[in-house]
Symmetry: D2
Subunit: 339 residues, 4 copies
């Protein structure tokens, strides 16, 4: 059994990690840290763990981290960038679930994340943890940057088509909708129940920090720079992201070809489900799973293809994908603990 450190175990991502690891056949949560709740049982913060996990939250101690076999950093962006270099000095492999090591170009951080990157040398070393794309690099990585929730659902939807060059790469619109857990565990006015239920809205229009991450992944797939429009929305539900994506097909591309491309690209993927028409993804069908459900529809009238993807933002969009990456990095079956 791998002894796992979860650095930052009380945010929603950290909690989901612990929950998945408790069911994992080859790993178990062993050391959990928290700045705010150090000294308390994890089950005091999340009573659902009572009787299932008896760990006590501790202040971060690198010696104790070093005694573990594998490290997850589930910290806010801006914090990870400072701590991950220290975590790596333990010599153990690290998966960082923040955005701090996802962008290869350090110059993007001031604009999109609001800070100067202090460990740019790690950006080259870090591997982007989307197994459907980077499985081999992940297997050999020491530091994996686990993808963001929106970037996971959207890249999985568009990547195959860009890789095959069948869609216009300069005309991509992503209209994404997320449950509220995506905003984290800290109470804020906008997420106060009476403000948030029975309400729907867009936010961070044109300025969400996941934009450069999606563009980076799609550009790599396309082989040339991709610029896209991304609009996130807040849905009054706990979990789930549905992304509705509008792309333009290149002349001569048929629906049959699109279908074949997806089937070929994802034929061996354990967590991608291509829905047969006329089925459409719904967030509840992937809730608390590591699946990404995909479907597409061609609008003859406008010549556009609509691609829809659904994931659970906390699982395939965070903790589940992180465990999938850990499985790959540690030579375990990729689906272990995830089904």
């Amino acid at each position: 059994m791998l002894k796992i450190a979860v650095v930052g175990a009380t945010g929603y991502t950290g909690k989901e990690l612990v929950q998945i690891l408790l069911r994992h056949p080859h790993a178990r949560p062993y050391y959990v840290t928290s700045t705010s709740f150090a000294g308390q049982k994890l089950s005091a913060v999340y009573p659902q763990f009572r009787g299932l996990c008896d760990l006590t939250l501790e202040e971060l101690d690198l010696k104790k981290v070093a005694a573990c076999d594998f490290i997850f950093a589930a910290l806010p962006h801006g914090t990870s960038v400072k701590l991950v270099p220290q975590l790596l000095q333990t010599g153990k492999k690290v998966i960082d679930l923040s955005g701090d090591f996802r962008l290869q170009d350090a110059k993007l951080y001031p604009k999109w994340y609001g800070y100067e990157h202090t460990a740019p040398e790690l950006l080259e070393q870090s591997v982007y943890g989307l197994p459907e794309v980077n499985r081999r690099e992940i297997a050999n990585a020491t530091l994996v940057a686990n993808p963001g929730c929106y970037p996971t659902g959207t890249q999985l939807a568009i990547l195959p088509l860009l890789a095959e060059g069948v869609v216009e790469s300069n005309d991509i619109i992503i209209d994404a909708k997320s449950g509220v857990s995506g905003a984290g565990r800290t109470p804020k006015q906008a997420f106060h129940f009476p403000e948030c239920t029975e309400n729907f809205k867009a936010y961070k229009v044109t300025g969400h920090q996941h934009i450069p991450e999606i563009e980076q992944g799609l550009s790599r797939a396309a082989g040339h720079p991709v610029t896209l429009l991304f609009t996130p929305h807040l849905v009054p539900m706990i979990r789930g992201i549905l992304s509705t994506i509008y792309v333009r097909l290149k002349p001569g591309t048929t629906e049959t070809l699109i279908s074949e491309i997806y089937q070929e690209y994802y034929k061996d993927e354990p967590f991608i489900r291509l829905l047969p028409p006329p089925e459409l993804p719904e967030t509840k069908n992937v809730s608390s799973t590591n699946f990404c459900d995909l479907a597409f529809s061609f609008d003859r009238r406008t010549g556009r293809l609509i691609i829809i993807s659904a994931i659970d933002n906390l699982v395939k969009g965070a903790a589940g994908q992180a465990v999938q990456n850990m499985n790959i990095m540690m030579g375990r079956p990729e689906t272990a603990g995830l089904q």
Copy 2:
């Protein structure tokens, strides 16, 4: 006080109509019909009306309709087309809240509504009841086709820009999200609470019946045919529609110009609220009101304009707009009963 007939008073639209009319200074619900609940008090079907409305639901009787001063038909599409010709024979003005008299081209009905139109002569006569566009025609109309919920929020968002010719009319994408009351009052699997809460999905992708209605309105504004892409989604909330609309600006169009166009177009409109940046529409801010909130944002990176509109689907998207139209048709202050 105008005596009002509500034909079909037990659907959500009919109920909302009665509710608004109960507060109206110049009108009152007088005759309410229902096929399924005839013989029962309206307050037995909707107990919130107890003590507020003592009307008994009746089977439709044209003589009794004729004794009223004004008629609302709040019936399912396919039913209105058969009954409205009879209602008009009373000589009273009629507002139809279904889709049956909204499309001028009868040939569109088989494709989009699934039936052959049996009163095509009324399509010419009927006036499309979007007061911000057609106020004068509405004032003189005998039959007003009250706009659909999605078409109201989306046309109000795009019309001014098409009318001024500052956006490309062949590249419009509407990603719309509606509360569940838009699906009506009849229980169905998809709207069963445990299926519907904690879930988000798209539906009727590329095939929603509101598409030709929106295109008709926008084409009229543009002066030439407009074809667009429209994707509706279901939000786990009761009321509200948020539409996120993606258009491409014509070369040379500035944000300032866009802002001026909206302000000029809507400067005297009592129910349009243009939000100052960086505010964005949220459905709760228009809930149970007749307002349409509008904002836009220009994405420099992709050259697209994002327009966001929010309405209450049952008020500005149905019953409220119908009362607004009634006020216009009957020479009452346009905002009477709506503030």
Copy 3:
């Protein structure tokens, strides 16, 4: 038109007050204060007021309060007790919506509210604002203590039976369930959307500060001390309180008698709706109204009577009842602005 001061206009109660006053035929919000948001438009804090209310929030200035015709204090308990004495010095009538002037016995405050009462002389002067009980005293009062949300729904349910002496006064159990707006507008962990939706729980078991208020009212009605058990619960919805109340009938009391007592007691009350069996109160039927819906059921098997009441916690449980009291105090029709 009465010029109204709302001291503390940005909590949910203050907001609801403004909303009701905007529709009031004889009053209008004129002066609104806020410590946290002074200098901002009320419509900046609550965008639904855009176009409806142009008032700017101000720091409390007693001279400006004095220029109004009537004062509502919608402040947290512990704050009202300090400010209301100053508000009364303006010579204007005051309704306080906190718990600070509801209990006649100052000695109860340390135990139930956690502070020493600093204006005990006002406790004698203040009138408890439950119009169905105290209408005359309210009419002549200078200071009215507006009842709490739970106390309103529960007292209205039990009072008539205790006043007639047909139930045992030492065996009353109240199991109450409230929407989340009852917890106020300040974001807290327990009311963070992902914690609060899809969850149900009891809170403050045996220790809620509304217990002595309910007992005081019932004791007055019974003519002797009443002690009861009260358990509040949190429902994942915005508005509404349903109270399920268990009492034991005195020997010889029939269901018919119970029914007659309620009908006699409430026969002229505009805001009490007695539901005919087998109808039962539901919170949605009173949502955004000043109604209290009541029904009862006798359990032959155990000899207990179950009484169920439903109110909107922000309307009849707070702002609506406050306006009802204002109408009484200022000689306006009691239902003005409330239907």
Copy 4:
């Protein structure tokens, strides 16, 4: 691996059974039946099963049932009573999840379930499947009647105190609150999303069919007949039951004694969690688990004890407890597949 038949696999209980069995180390769903959906894949009815369960729903065929190792009947009450006798003829052990074999007295069925029991001889044979009480009988049973959702949460809360004789057995009030999945999968007006969300109500006051089941269990524990009052309520959430229970302590019973009784009674129980004061059960903490969380509070003022229990109505209240029973009946570890 035990081959499992789930007769009636498309209701919420049947679906939950399949979901649990898919993760079970010693069993797997093998044969699934449905009258309404025969011929379709289970994953067509519940798309979350796509990629996880490839079974096709079939019409009930007793030969195919007989080829399985174990049978669950997850049918509506009134249907089970007709089919279970046939299922038993296969010679395999059966767990029935309906109410049809829970009451030992056949004469109670007409009053509480509305039908004459047609297999009264099986009532004697059937064992009531509450493992915390009947573990040994369950181990030897051929037919187990799986407890109802409300009866599970409430009996577990009260049983130890009645068994020890420390509470008055003629003064028990249960105020229970359930999520909407308890009402089943068939769409009905009351459970239509717009009617059901933002609403709270009681239902079946004094007449719920679970009353005799709870009384039967408690009477057995007490050693004499127990009559109680039970009021169920509907909470706008999918899963979970919280029961707030009011009992009167016998003279001389201390809180310490109560605490000791619970700890002794449940000391070896894997699925009972006694919460240390001041923690209180919340439905989210047991969501999708087989736990029953319990806490109590003594109200000195009224001399009553308040006991609160929380379960997931579909797991410990139905499918999870059924699997727990299967484990016992088939000699597997009791917690297999449930943690």
